[in-house]
Structures are given as structure tokens and as C-alpha cells.
């Protein structure tokens, strides 16, 4: 079920009413309702893949219980590896099988040997990377004794399948989300109304910014051979805002929606395009995944401690794995490696934690130095997104070589200039709101602090009108991160 669909507009109020009024505030009933509604939410897309969530839930729930009763270090490790192998096995089969088969075939044929294995026509289950990582975090935390495993399968299933964040995150840690299912939830007016506000902002990001940009980015990327460098650069910029509007829009809707049910999900984006260096960008972009890799991969590998070689190795591992997590394609791996290259100089000069504060805090205009740093970081990011968006390395290099050629200075001579100007105008409006609200948890949160109710409501109505008038007019587009 898509957040930007009529189905969801019907589904959400029904679940909300049942949750707060039909369950008599009974915790078990509420959790059961979450599980049932989450399975309906997911099954709406394809019910056949519900069994994967069920298997993942059953495995980790059982491993958790077994770890609680097991004190033998070897057997505990064995249990943890069982969880890792099953979860990553499922993920690997559905997401990476064809990638490895194709690459093995190419590698063998390079050495003059042919192998006779065919790739399979596999459907990638929506959100598999998200819920797999979420359940893995449970296994790790229980193993490390950071968390006492739950004995209620309903609570655990609710944690794994919680519908607001099931298909595209934020990837919640068991230590943060699971205990929220144990506590009695009281309705919180401030939390719920802020949640609705955040959902509205998320919808604006998705329908107005991301979907409009997607249409243009697709036009440039899909026909890249027909455009000069200037047009392709514009296309890369559109994709840069598409991916941000799409993914952070989803996160906003997810976080806001969870708040309606009394849950607090972690912040996933914190105005990443206002970052002054790549390290800051990665502290602000897809925070739930970055911190997941930091805690469960980077730190166990030694992190930034150890020899120079170890630092370089660990940085490359975490970024390349992060790229690979996004998809089974060399383009994603290159995107990850490129970010490692961006990040390494900062790490090696120990300046990766220089920009921990908010840019231009308390000011409307940034300093010249901050502005240039922000622009430079943004340019690096746009460049890296070209790999992320391209279907193949050939396409990525084709686009980059055109952008780096003199055609980047030519007039792109685009047919639909009016529409392109309109989308650029909408992006500028979006950036202004985000900049003004950058000290909050999301761009539009400052409206909640406006004293007069009529002003707040006018803001909501204006935003709704913009969504209505300028929202993408085609069929509802799936969120980009559904495929990951």
C-alpha cells in the first residue's frame, strides 16, 4: 500500500479508530491490531511475501528466546550465526542471486570457462532490506545482552512489521522500538498533531517535489544520448532532489504516522543538503542506516581506531557495503566507493567531526565560508548520485563524460521549458522552507510553534493547495526506496 494512495487514506483512519477506541486501551489488543493491520498493509502489495516476514520474525524470536537461556559462548555464537545466515540468506537470494550469477558467468568466461547456470526471474519483495536489517539488529543486541529478548511473539511481530516503517524505514533498533510495544500507550495530543503536520510535509515532498523531479530526471537519464551536458547536469540535479524528496518524504510520513499511534521513531534525515562536508552529509542522510552500519559493522571492525591501513579498509568496507545494500548493481557499489573516497581525507586529517552544529544556527543567511562549503558538498553529492541513478556503469560514464565536455556550457534547448521552470520554482520554495525550519526535526515543524491557530491552519491549507495544484498528475509513483 502506498502512503500517497486512496487506499492508505481509507486504511489509516480505520486503523486509528480501532486502535484507540476499539481496543479499550488494552496493550495486547493494540499490538495484535498493529500486527494484523501491518500484514494487511504489506499484503496489499503482494500477500505471498508475507511468509518471508513471518519466517524472519519466527527465526529471530526463537533465536532471542534461545539466547536468553543459553550461556555457553560457542552455542550463543552459533545461535547468532543461525539468525544471520537465515536472514541474509533470504535477502541474498531475493536481492543478489542474479547479480552474483551474472558476475560469476562473466568472470569465468573471461578465463575461457563457461558455467551453465541461469539467472532466475525473481521478484524483489518490497522493503526486504529494511525489515531484514531491523530483525538482525534484534539478534545482535540480544547476543550482546543489550536487550532482554521478548517472550511475546505478538510484540515481536509488531516490532518487525510495524506498518509505518515496514517497507522503507527508518530502520529501527530493537533497543529503541521494541520496548515501546511493552508500555501502555496514552494518546498524546502534541505528538499526534505534530505527527499529522509531519505527514503533510512528507506528502508535499513526495507528491510535489519528488514525483515532479522524477518525471524530468527519468526523461534525461532514459534518453541520455540525446541530450547535451547542460541538460544532463540538470537531470542529475532533478534526481538529487527526487531521491531526497522521495525518501525523506517517506520517512516523514512514517514518523508522523507512528506518532498517531503513540510511537516515537528515530529521525532519518536532518537537512542533508545543507551539509558543509561529506562527513556531515552522512550524519544527516539516511541516519538509521548509517548508524546501523556504524554500530554493527564499522565499530566491530575496529572503526577509526588502529593503523592507517585499518582506517582506510574499514571506511571502504562500510561505504561499499552500504552501496551494495541499495542494490545488486556495480553502480551502487561505485556510488558507495565514491563516497568513501570523499570521506577518507576528512577522516585521515581528523576533520570529519568539524561540523557537528547546525549551519547558520539562529541566522537567516550563512557565512560565505559555510555557503561555499555547502555548495561544494552538494556538488560532490550530485556527482555521486549520477552513479546511483544510472542503470549501468556504461550509462553513468556516458552521462559524466557529456557533463564534463564543453556541451555543459550550451543551451539545453528543452521542449518543456515552462514545466521545468515550474519544477525549479517548486524546488526553490521547498529549499526556503527547509532552510527556515532547519533547526527543527523536519522542515515544516516551525509552523507548530506559530502562536495563532488561524495562521497555522492557513499554512496547512496553502500547503494542501500547492499539493493539489502542483502535485504530480500521473498515476501514484512508488517510493524509490521500495526497491531496496
Amino acid at each position: 500500500m502506498l502512503f500517497n494512495s486512496l487506499d492508505f487514506a481509507l486504511f489509516l483512519p480505520i486503523v486509528f479508530v480501532l486502535y484507540w477506541f476499539g481496543s479499550n486501551h488494552n496493550l495486547k489488543l493494540q499490538n495484535l491490531l498493529i500486527v494484523v493491520s501491518s500484514y494487511i498493509f504489506y499484503g496489499w502489495w503482494d500477500w505471498r511475501f508475507l511468509f518471508l516476514i513471518l519466517i524472519s520474525s519466527l527465526v529471530d524470536f526463537s533465536v532471542g528466546i534461545a539466547l536468553l537461556n543459553q550461556h555457553n559462548p560457542f552455542k550463543r555464537k552459533l545461535l547468532l550465526w543461525t539468525s544471520i545466515i537465515i536472514n541474509l540468506g533470504i535477502l541474498g537470494f531475493f536481492k543478489y542471486y542474479n547479480f552474483f550469477i551474472e558476475n560469476f558467468k562473466q568472470a569465468f568466461s573471461f578465463f575461457g570457462r563457461e558455467i551453465n547456470v541461469n539467472s532466475l526471474d525473481i521478484i524483489l519483495p518490497v522493503g526486504i532490506s529494511f525489515y531484514t536489517f531491523q530483525t538482525l539488529s534484534y539478534g545482535f543486541d540480544v547476543y550482546k545482552k543489550k536487550l532482554i529478548p521478548t517472550k511475546s511473539f505478538i510484540d515481536f511481530s509488531a516490532f518487525v512489521s510495524f506498518f509505518p516503517q515496514l517497507v522503507a524505514g527508518p530502520i529501527e533498533r530493537a533497543t529503541h522500538l521494541l520496548p515501546q510495544f511493552y508500555k501502555k500507550r496514552e494518546f498524546n495530543y502534541a505528538l499526534a498533531s505534530d505527527g499529522l503536520r509531519q505527514m503533510l510535509w512528507g506528502l508535499f515532498k513526495k507528491i510535489v517535489i519528488a514525483d515532479n523531479c522524477a518525471e524530468l530526471a527519468n526523461m534525461f537519464f532514459d534518453n541520455y544520448t540525446q541530450y547535451p551536458g547542460s541538460a544532463l547536469l540538470l537531470g542529475a540535479m532533478f534526481f538529487t532532489f527526487q531521491i531526497y524528496g522521495d525518501f525523506s518524504g517517506y520517512s516523514d510520513i512514517a514518523i508522523g504516522c507512528a506518532r498517531l499511534f503513540g510511537f516515537d521513531l528515530m529521525q532519518n534525515f536532518s537537512f542533508p543538503y545543507f551539509s558543509r562536508d561529506i562527513a556531515e552529509f552522512w550524519r544527516r542522510w539516511h541516519i538509521s542506516l548509517s548508524t546501523w552500519f556504524r554500530d554493527y559493522l564499522y565499530i566491530p571492525l575496529g572503526g577509526s581506531k588502529g593503523s592507517l591501513w585499518m582506517k582506510i579498509r574499514n571506511t571502504f568496507i562500510i561505504f561499499i557495503v552500504s552501496g551494495f545494500w541499495h542494490g545488486a548493481n556495480w553502480t551502487f557499489i561505485t556510488w558507495g566507493a565514491l563516497n568513501a573516497i570523499y570521506f577518507l581525507p576528512l577522516l585521515l586529517t581528523q576533520s570529519n567531526r568539524n561540523n557537528l552544529d547546525i549551519i547558520a544556527q539562529g541566522k537567516l543567511i550563512p557565512s560565505f565560508k559555510d555557503f561555499i562549503a555547502m555548495l561544494f558538498t552538494f556538488t560532490l553529492t550530485v556527482f555521486a548520485w549520477i552513479f546511483f541513478r544510472s542503470q549501468s556503469m556504461h550509462q553513468a560514464f556516458g552521462i559524466i563524460s557529456e557533463i564534463l565536455s564543453p556541451t555543459v556550457f550550451t543551451n539545453p534547448k528543452l521542449v518543456d521549458q515552462k514545466h521545468i521552470s515550474l519544477v525549479i520554482g517548486l524546488i526553490l520554495f521547498f529549499l526556503c522552507i527547509e532552510w527556515y525550519g532547519k533547526e527543527g526535526k523536519y522542515g515544516f515543524s516551525f509552523v507548530g510553534h506559530v502562536k495563532h491557530k488561524w495562521k497555522r491552519w492557513t499554512s496547512y491549507c496553502i500547503l494542501l493547495l500547492i499539493i493539489y495544484l502542483y502535485g504530480y498528475h500521473g498515476e501514484a509513483i512508488e517510493f524509490v526506496y521500495f526497491q531496496f
Binding site: 486512496l6 487506499d7 487514506a9 481509507l10 484507540w20 494518546f187 495530543y189 499526534a192 498533531s193 499529522l196 491552519w457 496547512y460 491549507c461 494542501l464 493539489y468 495544484l469 502535485g471 498528475h473 500521473g474 498515476e475
Partner: protein, 292 residues
């Protein structure tokens, strides 16, 4: 919770008022000219896209009902035929548009499926929920209807433009005859590119057309193909482009009345490159209904 619900209720009220406004505007500007239910006295029907709109109600004295609509696809016509059958119309003849472009994939995207749903029934949908969602919810809650949004938005902006640039708007004229040859060529080329930018005909539309043919065969309905007149400029651009609806009909033993070239040097009968104006419509109706 009470405060929250009151606020949600208040905001829903605003949305409801907005929805009512949009609903009325949609009725007036989008649905009004589409949703008609013919009387059972009619025995023959014209199923076509906008090309047959020039025929207006000239066939009604002869029990021929003009069921044509702008942007109509074969899928929409199929729905209308099934509607007539389901409502026990005694159908003798169907005049069916078999113009060169009628099976163009372009029509899948820009058809009337959202409007012709008015003529659909529950059996067309996989689930009852889909039926309710598409037939009623999207109709009564048009704020979720993307096409209504697009139509009203363009209406709003054209009104605003009219207010701001009234004098310039009034000068414009749409009559084909009043345009320069260069302008006519340009418009004809644009029309051609819109309709013939695909290499193959649409499989979905072709299958739907074959279904119509089979229904007519099974119910012994006279199916008559009609190729509507085109302007000289469009014919020149068109060449041999044809997605082949006429050939399919002929191959199935049904006749085709071909008026495509009949108005080739009569630009005064055209409204645009491929649509007749009122006078053209009268002349065509004489040809079609009286074979003159």
C-alpha cells in the same frame, strides 16, 4: 483526544467543503458532457471518439444515438457496448470508428477509462473493493482524482489568463480555414506525432476491439466501420500510417464506410486537422445516414 478529534473534524470539514466545490466544478467541466444514458427507443448507436461529435444528434430521428465522446478509446466503447447489452437495448446497428489512429497506444494513456467507468458494472473488477473505489469513491471524492485535478487546474489558469490578457484572447480564432498553410501544416504534424509516435498498435486496444467484433457477431449486430474525414494537411503528413482497425473489421466480414478523403479540398468544413465543424458535420451526416 477530544481536542485532537475536534481539530481533525474541523480540518476534515475544510477538506469536505473543498471537495464539494471540486465535485461541482468537475460535474460542470468534466463529467457533464460525458455521462448520458440513452433512451431505449434507440436501436442504432455511434461509438467513436471526438471525430463523430460533429454528427451531434442528427441521427436521432432515425433512432440512431450518437454515443461518441472526446478522447474515447476502444476500451471505453467496449464498456458502452456492454452497458447497452446489459440494459437490454435492442441493438440493430453499431457505427464504429475505425480511423487509422484508433488502435494507437496513445489512447491507453489519454482515454476516458475514469469516466466510462460510469457504464461499467461490478463484474469488470477483480474485487468489490476495486469496484467501489473506482466507480464511486473516486467520483464522489474528486480531490483524489488526478485527471479532474488536471482539467480544473488548466481551467483555472486559462480563466486567470483570460482575465489578465482578455483582449489578446479574443483575437484568437480556432477555425481551420482561417489559419495560414504553414500553421495548418505545423498543427497537422503535431497531431500526427501525438497519435502515431508508436511503432505498433496497442495489444490491449486490439484485443478489446476483437472482443467487440465477437460480441456483435454473437448477437447478430450490424457492425459498420466508419473512417472519418481528414484535412488535406493531415493526410499529407499521415502517408500510409495506419494501426489497422479497418483491416481487422473487413477481415471479419464487416463493412467499412471510408470518408477519409471525401473532404480533402474542403478546409471550410474543418474545425481543426481531423475534426469537422458544424457545417462539415451536417454534410457528413447526409452521407452517412442517407448515403448521399
Amino acid at each position: 483526544m477530544r481536542k485532537f478529534l475536534l481539530n481533525v473534524f474541523g480540518f476534515s470539514l475544510i477538506l469536505l467543503v473543498f471537495n464539494i466545490v471540486i465535485f461541482h466544478l468537475a460535474q460542470k467541466n468534466y463529467y457533464k458532457e460525458y455521462q448520458f444514458k440513452p433512451s431505449t427507443k434507440f436501436k442504432s448507436f455511434i461509438l467513436s471518439d471526438s471525430h463523430a461529435k460533429c454528427l451531434k444528434n442528427y441521427g436521432e430521428p432515425y433512432a440512431i444515438y450518437n454515443f461518441a465522446a472526446g478522447s474515447e478509446s476502444v476500451l471505453d466503447m467496449n464498456r458502452k457496448l456492454k452497458y447497452l447489452i446489459a440494459n437490454n437495448f435492442e441493438i440493430k446497428t453499431i457505427y464504429f470508428s475505425v480511423d487509422d489512429h484508433i488502435l494507437s497506444p496513445h489512447r491507453i494513456k489519454y482515454g476516458n477509462l475514469d469516466r466510462s467507468i460510469y457504464y461499467s458494472n461490478v463484474h469488470e473488477f477483480k474485487t468489490y473493493y476495486q469496484y467501489l473505489l473506482n466507480k464511486f469513491l473516486k467520483y464522489y471524492v474528486p480531490i483524489f482524482h488526478t485527471k479532474v485535478r488536471l482539467v480544473l487546474k488548466s481551467l483555472l489558469f486559462s480563466k486567470l489568463k483570460g482575465l489578465l490578457f482578455e483582449s489578446q484572447e479574443n483575437i484568437k480564432t480556432n477555425d481551420w480555414i482561417n489559419l495560414t498553410d504553414g500553421k495548418r501544416k505545423k498543427l497537422a504534424t503535431e497531431r500526427f506525432k501525438t497519435q502515431f509516435s508508436y511503432k505498433k498498435s496497442s495489444e490491449i486496444l486490439t484485443n478489446s476491439f476483437l472482443e467487440i467484433i465477437n460480441i456483435c457477431k454473437a448477437r447478430k449486430i450490424n457492425l459498420i466501420g466508419v473512417k472519418f474525414p481528414l484535412s488535406r494537411n493531415l493526410i499529407e503528413v499521415l502517408g500510409n500510417s495506419n494501426y489497422g482497425a479497418d483491416s481487422i473489421l473487413k477481415a471479419n466480414g464487416f463493412p467499412v464506410l471510408d470518408y477519409k478523403l471525401d473532404f480533402i479540398n474542403k478546409d471550410e468544413y474543418f474545425y481543426d486537422a481531423d475534426h469537422l465543424n458544424s457545417n462539415g458535420g451536417i454534410v457528413l451526416s447526409h452521407k452517412l445516414f442517407f448515403n448521399k
